[in-house]
Amino acid sequence: MTSTRPSSVGKRPTESAPAAALHAGTSDPRTLIMNNLRQSGIFVALVVIVALFAFLTDGLSLSPGNITNIVLQYSYILVLAIGMVIVIIGGHIDLSVGSVVALTGAVSAVVVIRQGQPWWVGVLAALVVGLAVGAWHGFWVAYVGIPAFIVTLAGMLLFRGLTLRVLDNISLSPFPAEYNRIAAGFLNGLIGGDGYDAFTLLIGGIAVAGYVVSCFRTRSARVRYQQPVESFALFVARMALVGAVVMWFAWQLAHARGLPIVLIILAALVLVYGLLTRRTVFGRQVYAIGGNLSAAMLSGVKVRTVNFWIFVNMGFLSAVAGIIFSSRSNGAQPAAGNMFELDAIAAAFIGGAAVTGGVGTVVGAMVGGLIMAVMSNGMQLMGVDQSLQSVVKGLVLLVAVAFDVYNKRRAGASR
């Protein structure tokens, strides 16, 4: 009888799976398809878009070289999207990340290029600046109580201005080779291989093995706690599918230039932040704050502290993205990172985060970011005009969120 807000079912594929399917041991194919479609609509969308552009570009978009390119080109957006989805789950927004990317890159460039310090000093300097910026935002949002929209809008102007000051309005380049390797380097030929890189395949294999082991442990723990699990056949099928995709991906990379260093950084971040959001007290409290601030407060959540660290973390990840971006562009420009915040926000929302907070996943944001990446890249390969690309991306964002809202409304229709 009660009116309900949109439910979060379907947002966290591995956690909120509707019980009916779980109890049934998921043998009924129809419920299975229905539930999985709703849960993994975003994955389906990614597959469709990948397939579409593979078709439109005669397979060029799936070539080893291009796949490597996508990873290199969009890694910093994905890094930002990790932080952004956490900010959005907490019920905030961060409009400043583009400027912070520019500032941290600029500081690093000044330290390394102008002052001739070693590459790692530049990295450390950028991280310190990123953390300081995050603390600045966190202070105003959490302790003064200014809405994040305003605080980070101010930050966007403020840190863009500081970037211009730090760089004296000119670009700095080039970085030394070590620094450039962060975003442009590859781990290649470490254990040989003929026409392909065996090391990349090995890492891919280790990743798949790790995934299988962790899924199996989760499954057995759930069985031990008498929790419903999917049928074993489905479990194996899922492992096989994920394994195949990862190994194909590794195969393609191995036939191009090997394992990009930036991909290792990204994978580590996704793993850590995936666990952080799902399994830690901090992560849970972020969801609680975004879901119902007052209820969280009255449940003993230290809302200010959590909000503060949400922004410190965003600052940290902005710095990581700033390092990667400056390394990739092999220098620092006053206009670097322009509009990055919008790509990161779009990734989070396409990935199923809720505008009102309390809902979203790191994995979802990564898939959302990949959807944007594959589309941009595919359109570039096809030679689509820049203006039209922007139109298409805008429409996709709108349609993705509209579809999500529609789905939730249907699922949330109450008696």
Binding site: R5, A295, K302
Partner: protein, 515 residues
């Protein structure tokens, strides 16, 4: 049965299904012209769905059956259609815009235009003043609604309905958030509207109100019409209605409990709290205590400072300049934050579970663990299988009706939501539970279950403080009752000596007459 031509409204064989559930099956409703008709039933019985069908929220075609207004079939495609026929529904959660004035709210969507299509503010405010007079609300029409209490806001809603030339006024739980004085005022107004020819339909949980005011009542259970009772014919007692609603007799409304109070668990002395923004004391020198195995009630009119007292004790989550001493197990504690209060064994279950108690978009599991998450965590890592186990245990012990602990809390009925709130606080293993309106807006069956749970807790040696607007509830559940008026404790009455009259008298004592 009532002759058809006498009826302003007839709903015949209404069936409304949602995917997988039949919310209404073959429901009939007949309302005579100029009567007050009550619809009662447990949560989930289909009352609100029926009203949504009637008002066009569920458009014609999305349900089976027919609706006759003045004997003519009608097909509403939306709320505008039904309003144009003089059917206005006032929802439980009031739909007023807080920072607009009373007059602006009344004429929202129906603005009083002057020449050139511009709003004629003089006419707007003058008309609003007339409407306010007709509902007996002495407020300036330019006052922002946010400055009014809930009772007065309710009257603004009714004035708004009258401005729409209402013939059939539907009130969903109109007194749920009102104190006794405001409720009485509202019921009087409903009688007056009836005498002026406005037919009223009222959805209510409060059976004493139904028997007091309704001319007839329709009882729903599990989406079906159980019966239509004529109050005028003297057929109806509260027990009779309860039997229809739950399909069984509740031989006792309040489960029995043997009271064996032990050691004192919580004591506050000379507790004062200042309003967060205004310069006045909301709680003024209050002292009270509660012992293990004891249920203590706090009675007070709305605005007496009951919730404010409880929340200020609970980690200073309300007010400023809080003074006074707080003792837990005889030891003075400083609970300056909610987390500290929880650590000291205090739990507070809010009166507004949707706004302050639950994360409605999350599932049962996450809500149950929300306040005691650290118990499930080691070095910041949550043990999520243990969490599920905890939630499953609660679901079983509390009899939370949901397909699984992964069910989203926002979709549960009020009674089950309240059980989730209780589960959440029990998981923090408190010594004293402060329950603020623990049975507000939940149906009779669930109320009984909540009472049983409370009794189980005190039998386990917990101390319980119940804040309630329903005096029978306090009289039925408590060992001792404190009365609160204008922030001061005006009385402490053992339940054996307490009557509703006596409590009312103490609750209405004003500041000056208190010693």
């Amino acid at each position: 049965m009532v002759p058809t031509n006498d009826n302003i409204l007839e709903m015949r064989s209404i069936t409304k299904t949602f995917p997988g559930v039949a919310a209404l099956q073959d429901v009939n409703l007949a309302v005579r012209r100029g009567e007050i008709h009550a619809i009662c039933g447990e949560n989930g019985a289909g009352k609100s769905t029926l009203m949504k069908v009637l008002s066009g929220v569920y458009p014609s075609g999305s349900y089976d059956g027919e609706i006759l207004l003045d004997g003519e079939p009608v097909h509403f495609r939306g709320i505008r259609d039904s309003e144009s026929q003089g059917i206005v529904i006032i929802h439980q959660e009031l739909a007023l815009v807080p920072y607009l004035s009373i007059a602006e709210n009344i004429f929202l969507g129906n603005e009083q235009r002057g020449p050139g299509g511009l709003i004629d503010w003089n006419r707007t405010n003058a008309e609003a003043a007339k409407l306010l007079a007709s509902v007996g609300l002495a407020e300036n029409p330019v006052t922002p609604v946010v400055q009014l209490g809930v009772g007065k806001q309710q009257l603004v809603e009714i004035a708004k309905a009258i401005s729409k030339k209402v013939r059939l006024l539907i009130l969903d739980e109109p007194t749920a958030a009102l104190n006794d004085v405001d409720s009485a005022h509202l019921l009087d107004l409903m009688r007056r509207l009836r005498d002026e020819g406005i037919t009223c339909i009222m959805i209510s949980h409060k059976l004493n109100e139904i028997t007091a005011i309704a001319d007839s009542t329709t009882v729903l259970r599990d989406g079906r019409t159980v019966e239509r009772l004529d109050v005028a014919a003297g057929e109806v007692t509260q027990e009779r209605i309860i039997r229809g609603m739950v399909g069984r007799d509740l031989n006792s409304f309040y489960p029995d409990r043997v009271s064996t109070p032990g050691e004192e668990v919580l004591r506050i002395e000379n507790w004062s709290v200042r309003h967060p923004t205004q310069d006045r004391l909301v709680v003024d020198g209050a002292s009270l205590n509660v012992r293990a195995g004891e249920v203590v009630g706090i009675a007070g009119l709305m605005g007496a400072g009951r919730t404010e007292l409880a929340m200020s004790v609970f980690g200073r989550s309300y007010g400023r300049d809080i003074t006074g001493r707080l003792f837990v197990h005889g030891r003075e504690v400083r609970a300056r934050t909610v987390a500290e209060a929880i650590r000291n064994g205090i739990a507070y279950a809010t009166e507004d579970r949707k706004r302050f108690g639950l994360n409605l978009i999350e599932d049962i599991r996450r809500n149950v663990s929300a306040a005691g998450l650290r118990r499930l965590a080691r070095l910041g890592w949550v043990h999520d299988n243990e969490e599920i186990k905890v939630a499953e245990t609660s679901r079983r012990d509390m009899n939370i009706k949901a397909p699984s602990v992964m069910s989203v809390v926002g979709k549960l009925s009020g009674g089950n939501q309240q059980k989730v709130v209780l589960s959440k606080w029990l998981f923090t293993d408190p010594d004293v539970l402060i329950l603020d309106e623990p049975t507000r807006g939940i149906d009779v069956g669930a109320k009984f279950e909540i009472y049983t749970i409370i009794n189980r807790l005190v039998a386990d040696g917990k101390a319980v403080i119940i804040i309630s607007s329903e005096l029978p509830e306090l009289l039925g559940m408590c060992d001792r009752i404190y009365t609160l008026s204008a922030g001061r404790i005006t009385g402490e009455v053992p339940v054996a000596e307490a009557t509703q009259e006596k409590l009312m008298e103490l609750m209405a004592k004003d500041k000056e007459s208190v010693g």
